[in-house]
């Protein structure tokens, strides 16, 4: 593994759901400690891309490399031990398990240095008092916090976050992003899917825009304007 190479590298990814092709030759690279925002319209393939990186979706063609190692065929639990964790779209907590049990399940595949529960509760004071409560009884914001905590329990080097602000009050979204800022400062590499373009551009170093399963734009945030991103988002100006 070369220290200067990208931490996560995706090359020529084709992904299918049955006969439906969701991703067409998607390539992307993510540097260590960098925040990448993945934007695009509904159905553009953002969730599919994150799930493929996490190992929940098999790639028909293409390669996923992590720290220089080809992990395309690795099952999700092996990717988690290597340091890739996903916060899935829609939170997907285990409703009959308590908050603490949800977080503990997130740590089962963790390699060394898993986050102890106390450190997680320090990061998310809003769920610390709810640890013995069943996940199904929490508010949306609390559930999202538990979903992030469950992924952090595996002490990931790369955290993939799929639409964490979906359906939440702006104040709660702000709190969650504060936590992400803290993670970024601590050196965690983040890939976020975010519908709010301003927030995505504020929070990230690199922007990747997907359009109908293809990369329409990939650039450093400092090099793009909002108009350029919106044009890529809607596929305007394509030859």
């Amino acid at each position: 593994m070369t220290p200067d190479g990208p931490l996560l590298e995706i090359a020529g990814l084709d992904v299918f759901y049955g006969d439906f092709q969701a991703l067409f030759g998607v390539s992307m690279s993510v540097a260590r400690g960098c925040v990448t925002a993945l934007v695009g319209a509904n159905g553009a393939g953002k969730t599919t891309l994150l799930r493929t990186i996490a190992g929940a979706q098999a790639a028909e063609r293409g390669v996923v490399r992590y720290g220089g190692t080809d992990i395309t065929a690795a099952p999700p639990h092996r990717r988690i031990s290597r340091g890739i964790a996903l916060v899935p779209e829609g939170r997907k907590l285990f409703p009959s398990l308590t908050v603490e049990e949800n977080i503990q399940v997130g740590a089962v595949a963790a390699a060394s240095g898993a986050w102890p529960l106390e450190r997680i509760y320090d990061a998310f004071p809003m769920i610390a008092t709810r640890r013995k409560q069943r996940a199904a009884t929490l508010s949306g914001g609390e559930q999202q916090a538990v979903a992030i905590a469950r992924a952090l329990a595996a002490a990931p080097s790369v955290l993939l976050l799929d639409e964490i602000s979906l359906g939440l009050a702006p104040r709660v979204v702000e709190e969650l992003y504060q936590v992400l800022h803290g993670l970024r400062a601590a050196g965690t590499t983040l890939v976020i899917v975010e519908q709010d373009l301003s927030r995505a551009m504020d929070a990230s170093d690199q922007l990747v825009c997907l359009l109908e399963g293809r990369v329409a734009l990939a650039a450093a945030v400092t090099e793009v304007t909002r108009d350029l991103v919106i044009a890529a988002y809607f596929g305007q100006g394509r030859s």
């Binding site: 759901y17 969701a22 509904n42 159905g43 553009a44 393939g45 953002k46 969730t47 599919t48 799930r51 996490a54 190992g55 929940a56 979706q57 099952p75 999700p76 639990h77 988690i80 031990s81 964790a85 996903l86 899935p88 779209e89 829609g90 997907k92 285990f94 409703p95 009959s96 398990l97 049990e101 949800n102 503990q104 399940v105 997130g106 740590a107 089962v108 595949a109 963790a110 469950r150 992924a151 595996a154």
Partner: protein, 298 residues
């Protein structure tokens, strides 16, 4: 007629039903497999007990340290080699595979052991009993009931307190997400299948010691186990125990009135529960009744 006696005998009988049923309930709750060969596997356990205890010349209880690990290993192998593969081809494939397995086991047992009814050597326990007031309790029935209670509470404890148990419950809630957050599903499935077959074999040993068994006894065993699971509520072990007891008490109390209607009454109770509370009396969680979610698009 002695009603108190009938109820107590019914409760004790119910423990045996619950012991057969708990593996069926666990396998369905976790893997969504209705194992139609579960009763036959219990009878296989009885035959294995017969072979071991006559070969070693000891009561069948002494062979349990050999029999239970063998049954556990057989359950794991069954899951890895057969059911796990069948699960990849939709919900119908495991049903067909276990149906075929049931027919195979019954026929192989007939070839290997003939259709003669057999009984197991339970040692001194078989005929011993004690009397409290007007009620006579067989030590063997009491042992079966207490074993069932111990197995079910042990399982419940393992499910609620251990990391393995959390993974099992996470899978039962949402398989796709459990896999996604790092649960290595295959070994969890294998241990669950191992426990299901080991508890079935243990139940088979009690069936063979209390009464007799033959190669075709598995089907009847399966029906009672299935009814106990449904009455109690799928996915709830406490419910399975209550379901088993409801079956046992109904069978013995109605049998006290007219033996011809005892088994019919059990099936009617099952139908009545299905009509009034289709989720069972103690449905553990809603997730058990929902179809599995497919991968999300987006």
């Amino acid at each position: 007629m002695n009603w108190v006696n009938a109820v107590i005998q019914g409760i004790l009988l119910g423990g045996q039903y619950a012991l057969i049923a708990c593996g069926l309930s666990l396998a369905f709750g976790v893997m969504r497999i209705v194992n139609l060969a579960h009763g036959d596997l219990a009878i296989c356990g009885a035959y294995l007990g017969l072979v071991l205890s006559s070969a070693l010349g000891v009561p069948v209880w002494v062979t349990l340290p050999l029999l239970l690990p063998a049954a556990f290993a057989a359950g794991m192998a069954l899951q890895v080699l057969l059911l796990g593969r069948a699960l990849r081809h939709g919900v119908l494939a495991p049903v067909l595979v276990t149906f075929g397995l049931s027919a195979m086991i019954e026929n192989l047992l007939q070839v290997a052991a003939t259709s003669d009814p057999r009984g197991l050597n339970g040692g001194a326990l078989t005929l011993a009993s004690f009397t409290v007031g007007s009620v006579t309790v067989s030590w063997l029935f009491l042992a079966a009931f207490l074993t069932a209670c111990a197995v079910l509470s042990g399982l419940q404890l393992a499910l609620s307190r251990t990391s393995w148990g959390r993974q099992v419950r996470a899978i039962a809630d949402d398989l796709d997400t459990a896999r996604l957050v790092g649960v290595n599903v295959a070994p969890v499935f294998a241990t669950v299948a191992g426990i299901a077959v080991a508890t079935a074999a243990l139940a088979g040993v009690f069936i063979g010691t209390i009464g007799t068994f033959d190669p075709l006894a598995g089907t009847n065993t399966l029906i009672f186990a299935f009814e106990a699971v449904v009455i109690g509520g799928i996915g709830s072990l406490a419910g399975t125990l209550i379901g088993g007891i409801a079956l046992g008490v109904t069978q013995v109390v109605v049998g006290e009135i007219n033996q011809a209607y005892a088994v019919l009454a059990v099936h009617l109770l099952f139908l009545a529960v299905l009509v009034v509370r289709p989720g069972g009396l103690f449905a553990a969680h809603q997730a058990a009744h929902e179809p599995r979610r497919q991968g999300a698009l987006g």
